[in-house]
Structure formats: structure tokens, C-alpha cells
């Protein structure tokens, strides 16, 4: 089973509600996945002077904090490192050219190789075992604000039930990109072997992780995100609906056989996608037209440019006469 949801806000009012909307969609799909729940959102655009990134690491142990300290990774959010839901989150300014991979490598020696769950100026990614309400209790995802967000409720079939095997998956090496997947990638082992021989690193035994590795590898070979998604339809086997959250927008991919359900509503103010229509109905009051993307679809819904959002906000103010 599993349930996936995605939301793209096209105006500031919906961007302000995207965390709550995705949580409500997840709650509607909670029975599709009692084993885990997760959320990934792209926060508001940062101004050009802000060089900080958010990093979230699995494991809330003191030794990880000490190791981060030893690496000179110091929280600059003002509130200190956040220990929540078995993870550590901090915002820091990496030294010139420092990547998540280098942080991870440095941590592996010092602190027992905790996985870097998310990395990027705008990405907030949280996940854990249990239902969506446990996710909300640990991380207050309903308070998230931003133009793009995805979520997942997990029914584990192939791999263990723990935080790191839950979804979404950050695409390691690609800041601010995350995926959620519903289905089963049946050529996972073959792809994983091939990618590992080329030097790719896998962090879990979850077959869904290979989607992010696939996209990253294709983009390293010169494809853009949409071209990489198109290639994945031909090269991934099995059943898959997957969503990509990126600063540029929301990606939606279906396998050529339509093995898994997916409905999509593309309204003036938002684009919402979910495994079942019940999630759209529960989280988004008001009439909208829900349709099923054709099997084999590769869709990309661009996030509004910050300038457009500002213009939209201006129109909003004028139209209400203030």
C-alpha cells in the first residue's frame, strides 16, 4: 500500500498553509501506511546573502553533537541545535565548497556514521515510525510554510521499520531535493549493484532509495530533472508513483502500467496530488477537478517565481482594498 501526497502552492495564502494541508492529506491516508510517516517541504526562497543550510541528521546522541562541534558545524539559527524525533537539526554556514557528503564522511569516523537525512538551504525533511499524528507531535509539520511539500505514509513490505527506512528520501548529494514513492522497484537490486560499482552510496535497504540515486546519477550525466524523471519511466521496473519536491516545483511520475492509484487536482491556487481522492477531499475544501494522470505520465508543476508571488500578494492587497 503506502500513501503519497504532494502539494504545490501557487499563491502566498496556500504557501502559508502547505504544512497543514499536507498533514491533513497524510491523515486521510494513515490507514494505507501505519509503519511510518514523513514530510519534506521546500521553504520560502532565501535572500542571496544568506549562505546557511539546514542539515538534519539521524540520531539524537550527544556524541553526534560533539562530532558536529568538532567539525566546526555550529548552529546559527539562534535557537541552538534542535533535538526532536530522534534527529538533530541545525542551520549552519558551511565553509566554501563543503558538501553534505563531506559532512557525512567526517561524521562516520567520529560518531558511528549517522545518516544525513536532509541538506539544503530550504529543505525541511522529517520522518519516523508511526502514524502522521506522531510525526506532527514530534515535528509540528502543520506549521511548515513554503511553496512545495510532499508526504508519505508507509506500509513496510521489503525493509525494516525504522526512521531511516521511512520516507521521504532526500536525494543525497542534491541539496533541497526529496522524493516519496508508492510501489515496489523490482529491479532495485540490479540497479543498486550497478550504481554501487560506479561509486554511488546507499544508506538503507529500502528499494525506494534507488529512485533518488537514479535521478542524481542521470543529472550528473547532464540531464535536467525532468529528463531524468522521463528516463526513469523506461529504466525503473515494477510499480511506482513517485513525487519529487524541488525548489523549482513538484514532479509527478507514474509507471507505464498504472499499477498504483494516483489522483491530481490542478486548481488556480494550487496543485495537489494524492494516492486517493479522499485525501484531496479532506484537506482541500472547495470544488476542484480531480483526475488521474495517465500511466507513464511525467509531469512537472513549476513553483511560482518569488517575484510572481510578490506580485500576487500585491494584487491580493489591492483586491481587498487595504
Amino acid at each position: 500500500m503506502c500513501g503519497i501526497v504532494g502539494f504545490l502552492a501557487k499563491d502566498s495564502a496556500h504557501a502559508a498553509a502547505s504544512g497543514r494541508i499536507v498533514l491533513e492529506m497524510l491523515e486521510a491516508l494513515a490507514r494505507r501506511g501505519p509503519d511510518g510517516a514523513g514530510f519534506a517541504g521546500i521553504g520560502p526562497a532565501v535572500d542571496g546573502h544568506d549562505q546557511t543550510v539546514v542539515i538534519r541528521i539521524a540520531g539524537g546522541e550527544l556524541r553526534v553533537l560533539r562530532a558536529l562541534d568538532a567539525l566546526g558545524i555550529v548552529d546559527q539559527s539562534g535557537s541552538g541545535p534542535r533535538l526532536e524525533g530522534g534527529t538533530i537539526r541545525l542551520r549552519f554556514e558551511p565553509a566554501q565548497g563543503v558538501t553534505a557528503g563531506q559532512v557525512e564522511t567526517a561524521l562516520s569516523a567520529a560518531a558511528g556514521a549517522p545518516e544525513v537525512l536532509a541538506f539544503g538551504p530550504r529543505l525541511e525533511l522529517v520522518k519516523g515510525v508511526g502514524p502522521p499524528r506522531a510525526l506532527e507531535a514530534a515535528h509540528a509539520v502543520s506549521r511548515f510554510v513554503g511553496p512545495v511539500a510532499i508526504g508519505h505514509t508507509r506500509m513496510s513490505t521489503e525493509s525494516r521499520i525504522d526512521l531511516c527506512h521511512s520516507q521521504p528520501f532526500w536525494i543525497h548529494g542534491l541539496p533541497d531535493h526529496a522524493i516519496v514513492h508508492n510501489g515496489h522497484i523490482t529491479n532495485y537490486h540490479r540497479l543498486r549493484r550497478a550504481f554501487e560499482q560506479e561509486g554511488a552510496r546507499f544508506h538503507t535497504e529500502n528499494d525506494s532509495e534507488v529512485i533518488g540515486v537514479f535521478l542524481k546519477r542521470s543529472m550528473d550525466q547532464g540531464l535536467d530533472l525532468i529528463q531524468a524523471m522521463e528516463r526513469s519511466v523506461d529504466e525503473l521496473d515494477g510499480s511506482f508513483n513517485y513525487l519529487v519536491a524541488a525548489p523549482e516545483g513538484l514532479g509527478v511520475v507514474r509507471d507505464p502500467h498504472g499499477f498504483k492509484p494516483l489522483v491530481l487536482a490542478d486548481a488556480v491556487e494550487f496543485t495537489a496530488v494524492a494516492t486517493e481522492e479522499i485525501a484531496l477531499e479532506q484537506a482541500l475544501p472547495g470544488p476542484f477537478h480531480a483526475r488521474e494522470p495517465a500511466p507513464g505520465s511525467v509531469l512537472f508543476f513549476p513553483a511560482p517565481k518569488p517575484a510572481q508571488s510578490a506580485r500576487d500578494a500585491g494584487q491580493r492587497l489591492r483586491s481587498t482594498g487595504t
Binding site: G258, E276, L280, A290, E292
Partner: protein, 246 residues
């Protein structure tokens, strides 16, 4: 003031249409309310705010009419026992699955496996049908006013499917018997699917089904797909057909 007439019969019991607001109700509570209406002798019921919940209007009896005033989730009108069920929005997977008798009309689009394994009666999709429409049908009829997704009529055994629009790849794959009438274009045909010459009896059947579905369309231009029957028995000389089918 006149005396009441002696021995006057009470007004004939005229069951009202039950209106059930699904807001805040569990699927089980909605089902219980519908069945209470059936047991009290109501002839119709209307589900307001269905919210695309699953398993609405399952196994309802002959003579009963249920209106679902919005979208329904999975298995809407499943195991239908003779009722008329009108879904005013979309339906999720397996709407009207295993219908024994009756009519299910979906105003919007239908998800995967609409009319799966129905034995009799009529299922109408006024929008588009997704993958595997009419899979394993054992009788009855499915009318799709729009397009049907891949694998329509997969492993169909009996009955008729009318697709007014286009059919996706794999249409009529591995059918035993039954007929698909196609108004639009077909993708790649399914294993063992063959076009057969269409005759006056076919046109009468299409006309009848379109009429019952409330669609007025000219019946000319439909094409007829049936099983080539090469998969009925295994023959080593036709290994290639089997390889494609399996």
C-alpha cells in the same frame, strides 16, 4: 367541524427519501444508515458530503436507489444486488465490482478496474475510465462515454463493453469471450484480440446500451473486438502468442 370519516385508511405509507450527511461519519456508520433506510422501506437515499470515502453503497437490493452526491472512493456500488446507484462525482478503484444485478452510473471518471467481474446489469462511466476497465467481466455491460485506459476488457469472459472514445494499449487482452465495441482509436491491441466484422445485431445492442446509458450517439463507426481464441488451447505452433500473453 366535520367528523372524521369512519374507517378511513391512514394515508398510504410513502417512505421518504433518506438523506444522510456523511460529514464526520465512519464508513461503517454510513453503511448502517443506508441499510436502516432499506430496512425501513425507503426506496431512495442520498449521501451528502461523501468525501471520496471507500465502500459506499455496497450490496444494495433490487428496487433501491442510492445517490452519492460527490466523489466515492474504492468499491463504490460493489456487490450490487439490483439497486440503482448514481455517483455524481468520480469513483475510485473497482466501482461496481462483482455486481450481480442493477445499475451503477458514474458521472465523473472511474478508477482502475471499474465493473470488475460483474455478472449482470449495467455500469456507466460518463467521464473516462482508468486502467483495466471491465476486467474479468462475466456478463452484463459497461459503457464508457469517454476514453478507457490500458488493458480494458482484460480476461473478459462474457458481456459487452462499449467505449465511445479511445482505448489504451492492451485492449481486449487475453479475453475468453465477450465483446468490446470501440468508437474511437485503439492503442496496441492486447494478446489474442482481433477485430471482427460488425453486424446489425451488434448495432442494435450498441444502440440499446447507449440508450440505457442516456447517451445519444450514432452507432455507425463502432468497431468490434473479440477473442481470437488462440489462447483457448495451448499449441506449440502458437508459442509466440503465448509468450506475448504471459
Amino acid at each position: 367541524m366535520s367528523e372524521p370519516l369512519p374507517n378511513s385508511d391512514p394515508p398510504a405509507a410513502r417512505p421518504e427519501a433518506a438523506v444522510i450527511d456523511c460529514q464526520g461519519l465512519t464508513t461503517r456508520a454510513i453503511g448502517a444508515a443506508v441499510w436502516a433506510a432499506v430496512d425501513l422501506g425507503s426506496k431512495t437515499a442520498r449521501l451528502e458530503n461523501p468525501g471520496a470515502r471507500h465502500s459506499l453503497g455496497v450490496a444494495l437490493p433490487e428496487g433501491f436507489e442510492l445517490v452519492i452526491a460527490g466523489s466515492a472512493g474504492y468499491y463504490a456500488g460493489g456487490l450490487n444486488d439490483g439497486a440503482t446507484i448514481r455517483i455524481e462525482g468520480n469513483a475510485g478503484w473497482a466501482a461496481a465490482e462483482s455486481q450481480r444485478a442493477g445499475t451503477v452510473v458514474i458521472a465523473g471518471n472511474a478508477g482502475n478496474a471499474v465493473a470488475a467481474s460483474i455478472r449482470s446489469g449495467l455500469v456507466v462511466v460518463r467521464g473516462n475510465a482508468s486502467t483495466r476497465a471491465g476486467i474479468g467481466m462475466k456478463g452484463g455491460a459497461l459503457v464508457v462515454a469517454g476514453d478507457a485506459g490500458p488493458m480494458a476488457g482484460f480476461m473478459m469472459q462474457k458481456g459487452a463493453i462499449v467505449i465511445v472514445g479511445d482505448a489504451g494499449d492492451g485492449v481486449a487482452d487475453s479475453m475468453y469471450e465477450g465483446t468490446i465495441y470501440l468508437g474511437g482509436q485503439a492503442g496496441e491491441l492486447g494478446a489474442d484480440a482481433v477485430f471482427q466484422e460488425i453486424g446489425p445485431a451488434d448495432h442494435r445492442l450498441i444502440e440499446d446500451l447507449l440508450g440505457r446509458a442516456g447517451l445519444s450517439r450514432p452507432v455507425n463507426g463502432f468497431r468490434k473486438l473479440v477473442a481470437g481464441r488462440k489462447l483457448w488451447n495451448f499449441q506449440t505452433s502458437e508459442r509466440a502468442v503465448w509468450k506475448g500473453a504471459l
